[in-house]
Symmetry: C2
C-alpha cells in the first residue's frame, strides 16, 4: 500500500515505522519513555499510547535538562483556514511539556505562509483567521510569563538580522530537494522556510519542536546550518496524525469539512458529522456485530477516544474490549465520542470567548513577551 | 568590442546606445529635454550633457505632473563598502528633481543586500557602513519634510504585507532569467529583489527611479506585476557610469581603490590618485602634446570635470578647447580636477560631520518620515 507524507499532503495508509525510518528519526522506545517519566514524574497519554512516537535528539534535550542546562520549546500554527481539533494536538502536548519542565515556549503564527502558498487566499482573510487562531491557542492555558506568542508580520523586525543570516546559508537547491519547490514556485514560498527556522535560534539553548511528523522537513535544513550559525541543531518530537472522520487513512484536513471537527462546530453539527461520516469498525448488521464484534483499530470513533478524549486507561480499555466483543454497538461508541467532543468544545469555547486578555499577555505584556520585544535576534 | 553590464558587474567599453536599445529603454531626446525644461524652468547639467540619457515612462511622469496628478521619487544605496563620488550621482540628480518638482522622495538603504551577496561580509560590518552612508546621504540637502530615508532592517515590519504580496507574484524562473540566479544561489538573494520593489508601491502615484542603467534589471519584474497589484509600472531615468580613474571603460568600483575616489579620501590621497592613476588623453611627450593636443573624450580628468565638477558650460568648453589644442597640459588639467574634488570633499565632510540631526529628521522625525512610520504598506 502506498502513502505520501509532505508538509502539504498526507494520503494513504501510513506505515509510521517506515516513515520514521525514511526520515531518519528515532523511535521513542521504552528506555526513552522511562527517562521522560523519571524526569517528568509521569507520562502524558500521548506518550504512553505511542501517539507521539518518534524524535530527533530528544535524548539530548533530557540530558541538557538533567544537567540543568535547560532547553526551550517552539511550535506554531499557520492561519488560513478554520482550526480543527487535530490542530490542538501539538499545543496540548507542548503545554504538558512546558508545565512539566517549566521552560520557555515560543509560538510562531506565520501569517504569511498560507497566503504565499494558496493562490486565492488574500492577505486580509489570513489576518482575520489569525485573530481567531490566536484566541483558540491562548485559551489552552500556557504559562503566561514563559510563553511568547507572535505573528510574523508583527515580529519580523526583531527577527530580521537572524533571518538574513539564516537565508544566506540556504541555497535554492536545498529548498528544491527538501520541499519539492520548482522554478515556477514563487520566491515567497522558497524563502519562507527560513522564517520558520529563526525561532530555533531565539535562545542559545537546545530547542525542541513538538509537531506532526509531516512537518519534519522544515527542520532538516535547520539542522544542517544551526551549528555554523553558533546554535544547536533543533530537536523534534513527532506525533502521528489524527485520522480523518472518514477513515484511518491520511489525516484530518481543515479543507475537507466532512473529515474534520472544527473548534467552532456546534453540538448538532458534531453529532451529525460523527454519526454520518465517522468510519466504523463495526459489522454491517446488529446481529453480525453482536456475534463477531467490532474492530477498534480501524474505527475512527474509537481511535479519537484513544488519542484525544478518553484519558482514563481503564475506561478506554473497557470500551475497546466491549466493542471487540460486540457488547458495544457502533452507535453507542459514537455517542460516547459525541458527548466527549461536545463537552470539550463547550469548555473550549467558553475559554476562547474570554481569551482576548490572554492573547495580549502572551503577545505583548507577559514576562517573556516583554523581553522578546526588547530584543533583536 | 564587447562589454558587459549587470547590477554587479560592468566591464568593457560601453556602447550606451546599444545597451539602451537592448534593455528596451528610450532615449532622452531633444523633445523630452525641452518638455522637462519647460516644466522645470531649466535643465540639470546631467541632462544637458547627456549623462542621464535613457528612460522608461519619464514622459508619463511629466504628463502626470502637468495634470497635477503628481508623482514620487525613489532611489537608494546598498551599504557594504565605502562610498565613492560615483555613488553620489543618482542622489545629486534626485535632489534636483525633488527640488524642481517639489515631490516626495523615498531613499531605501537595503542593509541586507550586500550581506546576502558577499560571502565574507558580516551583518555587523554592513551595519557599521550603514551608519556612515546615512550621514553621507543626509548631508546632500534633501527636503527634510518630503524625504523618507529608511533602512530595511528597521522598516521591514511596515513593508511586510506589501512585500509578501509582491513576492507571491514573482517566480524563481523570473529571478533566474532577470538576474542570472542559479540553484546554488542562496534564498536570501533570490528573494531580495522583492524588497527592492516594495517602495515603488509606497504611494498610489507614478514612481520614478533615477539610477545608473545597470540597475534597470530590478525594475523590469516590477513593471510586470505592478498593475496586477493595483499600482503603476515604475518609471526610471538612467545615467551612464562615471568612468573609473584608470580609463573610460567599465565603471568606478568601490572595491578597486585605484579606480575610485572615496568620500573619505583626504587631499593628499586625492592628489596622488589623480596624478598617478587618472587615465590621460594627452600625448607621451610635452613636445608632442603641444603639437597634436590631447583627446578629452578618453581623458578621465576631463570626463570627471564634464560630468561632475565643472558645471559652467563656458568654462568646460574652454578647457576642452585648450586641451585639444595642446595649450593645456595633462598636469594642468589634472590639477584643475584635484582642486575641484578637494573643494567638494572638504565641503561635503563638513556637512557630513554635522549630519546626525538630519539623519534623524529624514529617518524618523520629518513630516513624511512620521507619516511613513504610522503606516503599513
Amino acid at each position: 500500500m502506498t502513502f505520501k507524507v509532505t508538509p502539504w499532503e498526507v494520503t494513504g495508509k501510513i506505515d509510521y515505522d517506515k516513515l520514521r525510518r525514511d526520515f531518519g528519526a528515532k523511535l521513542i522506545d521504552k528506555e526513552l519513555k522511562n527517562r521522560i517519566k523519571k524526569n517528568a514524574g509521569g507520562l502524558h497519554h500521548f506518550l504512553s499510547r505511542d501517539f507521539f512516537f518518534s524524535h530527533r535528539d530528544f535524548n539530548l534535550i533530557l540530558k541538557d535538562y538533567e544537567k540543568n542546562k535547560g532547553f526551550f520549546l517552539y511550535t506554531g500554527r499557520a492561519p488560513g483556514g478554520d482550526m480543527t481539533i487535530a490542530h490542538l494536538i501539538p499545543f496540548i502536548f507542548t503545554k504538558w511539556l512546558q508545565k512539566t519542565f517549566d521552560v520557555n515556549l515560543y509560538i510562531q503564527i506565520p501569517d504569511e505562509e498560507k497566503f504565499l502558498h494558496k493562490q486565492n487566499l488574500s492577505w486580509e482573510t489570513v489576518q482575520e483567521k489569525t485573530r481567531e487562531d490566536l484566541k483558540h491557542i491562548a485559551s489552552l492555558g500556557f504559562n503566561q510569563d514563559k510563553t511568547f506568542l507572535f505573528q510574523n508580520s508583527e515580529y519580523i523586525k526583531n527577527m530580521y538580522p537572524m533571518l538574513m543570516k539564516t537565508a544566506k546559508k540556504i541555497t535554492n537547491s536545498t529548498m528544491k530537494a527538501v520541499f519539492g519547490f520548482k522554478d515556477s514556485t514563487n520566491i515567497g514560498m522558497s524563502f519562507y522556510p527560513a522564517i520558520q527556522m529563526v525561532p530555533t535560534f531565539f535562545e542559545k539553548k537546545r530547542c525542541v519542536i513538538p509537531c506532526a511528523i509531516d512537518q519534519d522537513n522544515y527542520w532538516r535544513p535547520q539542522r544542517d546550518i544551526a551549528e555554523k550559525l553558533g546554535f544547536y541543531k533543533t530537536a523534534t518530537i513527532h506525533s502521528k496524525f489524527l485520522p480523518p472522520l472518514t477513515g484511518v487513512e491520511g489525516k484530518m484536513s481543515a479543507s475537507k469539512s466532512e473529515t474534520a471537527i472544527y473548534l467552532s462546530d456546534n453540538e448538532d453539527v458534531v453529532k451529525k458529522k460523527v454519526m454520518k461520516y465517522a468510519f466504523s469498525g463495526g459489522q454491517p448488521t446488529l446481529e453480525e456485530h453482536r456475534k463477531k464484534g467490532g474492530n477498534p483499530d480501524i474505527d475512527v470513533a474509537f481511535q479519537w477516544l484513544y488519542i484525544l478524549f478518553e484519558l482514563d486507561d481503564k475506561k478506554i480499555e473497557k470500551i475497546r474490549e466491549e466493542y471487540k466483543l460486540g457488547k458495544m454497538l457502533t452507535g453507542e461508541l459514537k455517542t460516547i465520542l459525541i458527548n466527549k467532543i461536545n463537552n470539550f468544545l463547550k469548555e473550549h469555547s467558553k475559554r476562547k470567548d474570554k481569551a482576548d486578555k490572554i492573547v495580549d499577555k502572551l503577545k505583548y505584556s507577559g514576562k517573556l513577551a516583554k523581553e522578546m520585544w526588547n530584543k533583536t535576534i
